[in-house]
Assembly symmetry: C2
Homo-oligomer: 135 residues x 2
């Protein structure tokens, strides 16, 4: 069935595995709202770990509230949760967090330049909720 724009399997009984599935090209372009219900950004792309096939990060274009134009920020995928009523993602990320976040990668001409390991750790540490555990 199609539920608020997202494809989900129907759970016909309790023993079956429930498999909500989303399409990559449907996530791209979806709005991101903050806890106050204000639209703060748009999902640009998903970053997927090749070996495991897991979505690790998501690029979000934040803009409008920073006062300094539009900014692309790379945030951990689990910082976003889908809100059926909004048909968008919701996040606890604040304006301050976005403003101070380390840039993850940049462009060299048309080529993306990926950060080194040190910067990736910096990003993980920055977005970590619980300093004791992994993201």
């Amino acid at each position: 069935m199609l539920e608020n724009g997202f494809l989900v399997w129907e759970a016909s009984n309790n023993t079956a595995t429930f498999h909500p599935v989303i399409e990559s090209d449907r996530v791209e372009g979806t709005a991101v709202f903050n806890q106050q219900g204000r639209r703060i950004g748009t999902i640009k792309r998903l970053l997927i770990e090749k070996v495991s096939g897991k979505v690790l990060y998501v690029d979000v274009t934040f803009g409008g509230f920073l006062g300094i134009g539009v900014h692309l920020r790379t945030v951990p995928w689990d910082k976003l949760s889908y809100d059926k009523a909004l048909e968008s993602y919701r996040t606890e990320i604040t304006e301050e967090q976005v403003r101070d976040a380390p840039a993850f990668y940049g462009y060299d001409g048309d080529d993306l330049v990926w950060p080194d390991r040190k910067r990736e750790k910096e990003l993980r540490d920055y977005w970590r909720d619980d300093p004791r555990g992994p993201i």
Copy 2:
């Protein structure tokens, strides 16, 4: 570093975790070649399990060799492997397999219609290499 169009982390030492990462919007539109080196399709989108964030399936537009126009088929993600030399994906899937594959979902107007659990099992069984284990 950027390696054949894909972003990878540099492995600076043996103890560090290696993290090759791909971007969703870079996978979409990438060519798929068969074992004979013939281009048989193009990746349309990734299908991601919401809870785990894992890419489970990929929609591929196959065309040109079926003699019956272009066909969208949903195949398990692990049926595709990235070939650096080709800068594309390679698959062991054959023309016969594509021709006989069960359609995964269809369109009802602009809305995608997701299959029920029975059809999803049918698809998993169809693409299974080893009948004893999961895909």
